[in-house]
């Protein structure tokens, strides 16, 4: 059996890996010059299923728990050092709300915060610590995953390749194009996110720190060698590659509130891309004939991709069915904006069977 995976971002590479492990012949097709150059590149890389409960549905945490094992043990690329959630003194109400909506955390006082992250000593008097959560460097993770795939005899990777131009017809098409799949999935929208990478030798953090704020929440993820990823804005528009001055100012201000030394940090990179999302911000496996769309991962690409990939492989190999992500009811279909027939037609138009 041959499966063609279109799109070599985190969803596509995880799907290819899960399929290949089941013995499927896998052909990965990527339009860019290398894997991982789409929106996965700008991810925070926090494997934080319980923190995400703050605004996500319980399903995201359920699926996300599978990612901890995948990235830390199977790929060996994620560090389990927990997540730390803090709030400025005036925004203590945000911390209380966050605690009410999440689980699997411990409440820390100033002394415990200082013990965990000495550089934050004296800066916050309360925090939530999600001990079991992990983080990774998305770019390193995708390189590692690509390397793992290269070792498998039944996987090929084609870069700078337009999938529509391929003459051969595989048994299955696994469409992992993210926002680019809107041509087939009309209910998909893009949610803009902007991020920065800062370099500072004055600060050292061991784990992601989220600082809550009613308008400008921020997270700082240590990437090693003095690098920190600072993210991310959430804006309901679909312009891809434009980082605004306002967003940079807000992100830097928020990072400064986490630690003043960030004011002197070097801005190494600014980045911006679109999170692909359905109206309910929940992910989907959409099976249309022999095309399977993996999409709508929203801001949870690295958190959700392993669980979705595993389910996708089951669908392809064993005709599996997973109602929680496979548009089980009409509400889900409506939220995805794609009734069965519409998508079948759209798939027909793009020439996949």
């Amino acid at each position: 059996m041959l499966a063609r995976v279109i799109g070599a971002g985190v969803a596509g590479l995880c799907a290819a890996y899960a399929l290949a492990r089941k013995g499927v012949e896998v052909e990965i097709v990527e339009r860019e010059s290398a894997p991982g150059l789409g929106c996965s590149r700008f991810a925070g890389g926090m494997i934080a299923p319980w923190c995400e409960l703050e605004s996500a549905e319980p399903l995201v945490a359920t699926l996300g728990e599978e990612a901890l094992d995948f990235w830390s043990r199977e790929l060996g690329i994620a560090t389990i050092a927990g997540s730390l959630v803090v709030a400025p003194a005036r925004e203590r109400a945000e911390l209380a709300d966050f605690a009410r909506r999440t689980r699997n955390f411990e409440s820390l006082d100033a002394k415990a915060i200082a013990a965990l992250e000495p550089d934050l000593a004296g800066r916050f008097d309360a925090a939530l610590f999600f001990r079991q959560e992990a983080h990774l460097d998305p770019r390193a993770a995708l390189v590692a995953l690509t390397g793992r795939l290269a070792q498998l005899p039944n996987v090929t990777l084609h870069v700078q390749q337009d999938a529509a131009a391929l003459a051969t017809i595989p048994d299955w098409v696994i469409d992992c194009r993210g926002f680019a799949a809107r041509d087939a999935l009309p209910g998909l929208r893009g949610v803009k996110g902007e991020m920065l990478i800062l370099r500072s030798d004055e600060i050292s953090l061991t784990r992601p720190v989220r600082m809550l704020h009613p308008r400008r929440p921020v997270y700082v993820v240590p990437r090693g060698e003095g690098l920190f990823m600072v993210g991310a804005t959430m804006i309901e528009n679909e312009e891809r590659a434009r980082v605004t001055a306002r967003s940079v100012v807000e992100l830097v201000n928020s990072a400064f509130a986490v630690h003043p030394a960030f004011a002197e940090a070097e801005i190494v990179e600014t980045g911006s891309d679109l999170r692909p999302a359905f109206a309910d911000n929940l992910p989907r496996l959409l099976k249309r004939g022999h095309t399977l769309y993996i999409n709508g991962l929203y801001r949870h690409g690295f958190l959700l991709a392993p669980a979705l990939a595993r389910r996708a492989a089951e669908v392809v190999v064993n005709d599996g069915y997973f109602p929680e992500v496979m548009d089980a009811d009409s509400n889900q279909r409506a939220a995805a904006g794609c009734e069965r027939d519409d998508v079948a037609n759209a798939a027909g138009r793009t020439g996949v069977r």
Partner: protein, 262 residues
């Protein structure tokens, strides 16, 4: 109960206006709108517009809910910026309604009332129907009416604070001074009881965003506010009794207490 509120010649049966920011998802936003029964939602343009109307996907989700859109100029810091945003909003949503915000202080999001009056006058002259987000200051309110506004939207407390009514005296004074102008409390409410209170004071409507969108269950909270607003309005119309001060002695009975007369 037929008790419509009329805003710029449009009669509305719901006295709740809902903001559309910071919901867990557009699907939950749409459900909250339906649960609230509101007929007007506000939509922010400044930031979502992006370079070339890149906010269209989200805006069309909102338009699809089928309620009237009141675009706002949230995030604008000068009259000029707000005017330009209002003009863009008129094109995008094909409406001359505009909720005018000119922010003067970044931390509390307190309105810059000078820029607000300036922008209100320019927009009213340009044919806009202006809904100004203002403080509870009487004189500013008067200037806004003078500039051409026919609706006022005073705050109860700073945006997103959820504190409820900070200055009941100021809100009562506004109501008393402008008995015929629709007054909508915009910003600062947190709990349904806050909304009931301002409706009992005689306010015409309430605009909410954070109190609903950041509640644990936004859909249920939208419904709770709708009920509170209806109750508060009915309470106002029913003319509540005046509270009695039982600490003061009532009509004295000579000699002995009333209950021991028998």
């Amino acid at each position: 109960m037929n008790d419509p509120v009329t805003l710029y010649d449009v009669a509305l049966s719901s006295r709740l206006l809902l903001g559309t920011a910071r919901y867990p998802s557009p699907a939950i936003l749409a459900e909250s709108i339906r649960a609230s029964g509101c007929e007007i939602v506000t939509v922010s343009l400044r930031r979502e517009a992006g370079g070339a109307r890149a906010g269209e996907a989200f805006w069309s989700l909102i338009r699809d809910v089928g309620v009237r859109v009141l675009p706002n100029t949230a995030g604008c810091r000068t009259a000029k910026e707000a005017i330009a945003t209002a003009q863009m909003a008129r094109e995008v949503f094909a409406t001359d309604w505009i909720k005018l915000e000119v922010i003067g202080e970044e931390d509390t999001l307190q309105p810059d009332v000078f820029g607000l009056v300036e922008a209100a006058r320019a927009l009213a002259n340009d044919g806009f129907k202006v809904f100004p987000y203002t403080t509870d200051d009487l004189v500013v309110a008067d200037k806004l009416l003078d500039a051409g506004c026919r609706v006022l939207m005073p705050w109860a407390a700073p945006i997103g604070s959820g504190r409820g009514v900070n200055d009941a005296f100021a809100l009562r004074a506004l109501r008393a001074h402008f008995p015929d102008i629709p007054l909508i409390v915009d910003a600062g409410l947190g709990a349904p009881s806050h909304a009931a209170l301002v409706m009992e004071m005689g306010y015409d409507a309430v605009l909410l965003n954070t109190a609903v969108s950041r509640a644990g269950d936004p859909v249920l909270m939208a419904r709770a506010f709708a009920l509170a607003i209806e109750a508060g309005r009915a309470g106002f119309r029913a003319q509540p009794m005046t509270p009695r001060d039982m600490a003061e002695p009532s009509t004295p009975i000579i000699g002995r207490p009333f209950d021991r007369l028998a």
